[in-house]
Symmetry: D2
Subunit: 394 residues, 4 copies
């Protein structure tokens, strides 16, 4: 059998997903063949160029038509977040397996409707998955496995941050990602979503309450050009940044452990620094995306004079995903997670195995994001995640 | 001339201060001689043993008597925090220069009365200084200098943490430091104070509002023994921990930049990990107390392809304090800050130069600590530092 | 136009090269299309499976036939070293562009004949290149560029090592790589070749004399099985390791700077640790293959109190090759060098630009390897590289 | 009882030793009291100033007189190496315990006569020790202990380097340390001695043969002034550097394991970078003097997916020497080794326990240094350590 994939969208994420689809069958022994069938984009010429560049058999401009085609099995959604829900629901209704890039949606309501659609589809054996690919960096998968096996013990606290610096220059222009109407959210939704998901994934615990602050460090930026359609007075050619640049929030996990979260685009010198440290009564684990081939493990059960953080080079055949790649010590990079994601999704589709992150997990991230925004609007008061309008006492 | 020092107290801090007084005259060319005259402790035998061990000429048991002796010039207070105010005020009234270990006091009110005493004394040329010795780690002094010289530019955000792990074991007993009556506060006041002071010191900006959460991760611990006098039901020999173990809070600096703070005794594997990172539009600086001979500097004004964090080994003669020590590359340790502190205080006393941290700075730290506790008691709502009972809108 | 590639061999290197050919056209804007035409292997079934797995259009078993096919433009040689010369010379004679994996040959004589063939072919516009892919790790390319631009100044010394640990276990069996008849050489030729090439590449200076020692740390190992055809007495099922495990040698660069070299398969805990540090009067540069997205640069011309090793995260668009990949901070891995290699070779073939490493460079590495073996056989006496039988006075 | 110490010399090492004698009694519970009795220097005024600065009771100018005084128990020699032998032999003959700074002597012959004197004195209970203080950095002591306890297993190889950069500037003047007549040797004897001793100390194995090269990277340097008495033609005010700047040598340990050694003053950016890595069949250990509070341990017996280098922060009470100092995580610096050395020597003198490094160990280092120079003069041919004039076949 052959699984035929249609990809909707072709920006940066389209490139990464294309590499995933191209490489997965060569690197992994997949149960079925994969065909990169059709790439969809609004602009016909651009879509055709992208399809040729990335190895898609054809291109198209109307996603509605494509997601119902008989010769499509998997719909891979890499558009901006505002149309994720519409596409995903249509594709699931048409019986297509859906891989949807994160963030799953721009609102909780959208995510809820997507989950409902996924649950209906699941009853028919159709798979739905969200693209938090960092789960599939081998060191992150190992981190999760070690926690699940009790190496950290009872979790006392978590420290998670995602720090970038691409907005430090105040003359960086007012791109669509800095406008609430288009992007929905700023650093919080874009990169904060990753550390929320990763925290929940590796600990197996839900964030059930939050208290947070968001800030727009540079509130006005140069307009790209007069035709940009961006809001803001055009006087002097500057417009308002309407999303956050920086979000600092504290979460409470089920069971009570606290998590410090920080998502920022103003951490000078930090390029793509997703870091997470989980501390428990038996040990601690530390990961840094800028050093993604290593996992640091502190084993409190080791002899006391030998304790320290062990820098595990996660490049051995015994490590998750690694046996399919190169010999020991040969490091992997950013896009390998997309190859693993494609391989895992294909396997889930073919074998019926569970595909994670589920839409339920994607929704839970949206709810945490939503709660942070409620808290930030209420003087940082604690907000329950599942009922974000209620300020709870604790 | 000779400056004669009396030290009140002789625990861990007494040892560190003793090394400071012993070594400062040997390492630095001080304007006057220093004599370690008298060590004061409640228990005569213990005080005498400590005096002999650390090189104090004599010992005594009554601090009230000592602080008024004619043959004492400097009073160095290293007792628990609850009697700092009483001793400091008495010593200042007697015309003695006072070095008071941090935290300056156990309450804002105490600190305010200490400041009032210090201001009166200052009019007579008497010096008062608080012992935030980490300011005098060469890498921290350099960090401050570089910010003052504009190397970081406009500060966008700060990330400060002080992480230890000595309470991870739930069977660690209920020492006095875990009882509010005796210790005043837990991780917040003990180590949180350091990162508040360091943030204000290196940035030159006051923390003017906070939102925070404190937690007691392990709420009950074994009593040391029946005669410990600790509160808590003695059933099964466990008592209540009445201070925080973990404090996560966000501060707002004058000008609006946010600071993420974390003070914890539950960060498994972190022994004495005070870290601070200051991010601005021209650069960033990063310090880690577990690696205290290095300062990391990111220069955004460097050619773009050469940008990165530079690990400055702060062991060259051009670096603060270092020329007095060893040749290039020969690293310093924890107690060197106490030597620098003693040398700087002696110099200030002799020359009339300003002595920092001032009592006003010590009080400002107390006010921030107080505001964090108010915020934590009010669902993490933002609290202004200078009027901590008011919850402000912003 | 389309360049049609034939690859001879399909082991580990075949996989890496296949990824290179697959990905290069998708990631880079190449002047011509690339077609992965035919994969050649002795065993028809294995070759066909590999071809399917890696995306080659067809497979074949007779390399002699393939290298003369009209519908082949490029011959990529990834066989064991003992038949590199024969294939390369035949392919060049047939007018094919040749990419030959390192080490270029198993002897200086073979390499010399290959160079002669390449020089003849060059006169007709045919390209020949050796696969020292580590030159194309972006951080290594940047290292070379910075030296070329004078950032290190006059080179005083180089410290280069390639350390692995896959032979530490004495029960690791006697594979063909541990037999001189099959592998030619051990750690020296396999990984020592890389650090010789890298040293010459980044400094632009030839190694013109060497003094060295080689050792076989574990001299006897278990035979794989009785049918292995390996030498050694089969008594107790052990046989002799006939290549070196560990080579320590000193080189002298043109101009006189010394280089310390170490190639080892016994550096416990080191998986693929190629490290090189170049020290000069203006600065120093340091690279570590286990951390391949970073380059460390020490700038002696910086203000003295700011000097230190700067950890450049070589993931910015201004860095070599990086603009074609992901946004800032998204790290690359091992196989990306093979993508760069394929792209550069295609570009050289299409545009006539020079293709490096040249066969002359490959030969020079062989000569250094040869000289090390001569020195090791002569009590480590210094040996000139170009006349390796002569022991010179200096 | 009180042990009365006389120190001969008062340069950089005099300062470090003085700190050792001052601090040891305060930090450690020593069996006897220590009195810093007399400091000896040629220039009376300079000696008196140093004595006052460092806390010695008196000063003197004639070491011959001092080493026979009845009120002196320990003679501590920190002069240049050329008079070590004379002083040590006289002091031992007078029944004084002797601590002699490294290098033990400027020649093998001197060291041999010192050892003879020490052996005679030992029969009378007199102690003699050489000042390789780095043995007493807690992480180094721990490294030795772990090897002794089998954590590394059979040692396969060692990689040791001592790298500094204070001669990179060609205008650094021609100080006495760069003149063979005064300094005996250059980088080899000064810092190479440390890595030879450390290798032998931590492995418990003797270096029994060497092959090496020495180089003077910058052969001529500016004369300090016309009255410097330095050799070299004064034309243009430059003179010849007559010692090595850089030594690269390979050693063979008893049992056959190879050691790569490098001692250099030209490693740009390396300030005091003594590094040693010991690799065996059960594990590896790595130490770096620029990061001296950490020891890195790779445990090959750990579960394979958890293997990595563990960064042990050697600041816990369970670690060597540390319990006497500060709480966990409070780092030590360079001079703490001198405090440990003083404490250990006092303890050995009082209790009769062995004092290491012995003069026999000091002599063995001299013999290795001598053999390296013989090898360097013989085209790097291998030289046996114990009969350095013989070039052996192996």
């Amino acid at each position: 059998m052959t699984l035929r994939v249609a990809m909707i969208g072709h920006g940066f994420m389209g490139a990464a997903h294309s590499v995933g689809w191209r490489q997965a069958p060569a690197i992994f022994d997949l149960p079925d063949r994969v065909e990169m069938s059709v790439l969809v984009g609004r602009d016909a010429a651009a879509a055709e160029a992208a399809a040729r560049k990335w190895g898609w058999s054809e291109s198209a401009t109307d996603w509605r038509e494509v997601v119902t085609r008989d010769d499509v099995d998997i719909v891979d959604i890499v558009t901006p977040g505002d149309i994720h829900a519409e596409i995903a629901i249509a594709a699931l209704a048409a019986g297509k397996h859906v891989l949807c890039e994160k963030p799953m949606a721009n609102s909780v309501a959208q995510a809820e409707s997507m989950l409902a659609a996924a649950e209906q589809a699941a009853a028919r054996g159709t798979k739905a998955m969200v693209g938090f690919t960092y789960r599939r960096v081998p060191a992150v998968t190992l981190l999760r496995d070690l926690i699940a096996q009790g190496k950290v013990g009872n979790i006392h606290q978590v420290r998670a941050a995602y720090r970038q610096d691409w907005l430090v220059d105040p003359e960086t222009p007012l791109a669509w990602r800095l406008q609430k109407d288009h992007a929905g959210s700023g650093a919080l939704g874009d990169i904060g979503a990753h550390i929320i998901d990763m925290t929940q994934f590796v600990t197996g615990l839900a964030v059930d309450a939050v208290s947070g602050t968001v800030q727009t460090v540079v509130p006005r930026r140069p307009l790209l050009d007069s035709g940009s359609g961006l809001s803001g007075t055009a006087a002097e050619g500057y417009g308002d940044v309407t999303v956050d640049d920086l979000a600092i929030f504290t979460g409470r996990l089920a069971g009570g452990a606290l998590v410090s979260f920080e998502a920022t685009r103003f951490a000078t010198g930090r390029k793509n620094a997703l870091t997470i440290e989980v501390s428990g009564d038996k040990g601690a684990l530390l990961f840094d995306l800028e050093d993604l081939n290593r996992l640091r493990f502190y084993d409190r059960t080791a002899p006391s004079r030998l304790q320290g953080f062990t820098a595990i080079l996660v490049t051995e055949p015994v490590h998750p995903y690694v046996a399919a790649w190169w010999p020991a010590g040969h490091v992997l990079g950013y896009e390998h997670g997309f190859v693993h994601q494609a391989a895992d999704f294909v396997t889930a589709v073919c074998t019926g195995a569970p595909a994670h992150p589920t839409f339920a997990e994607g929704l839970s991230v949206q709810r945490v994001l939503d709660a942070v925004q409620h808290s930030a609007a209420a003087e940082s008061a604690w907000v329950d995640v599942h009922e974000p309008t209620t300020v709870s006492m604790r």
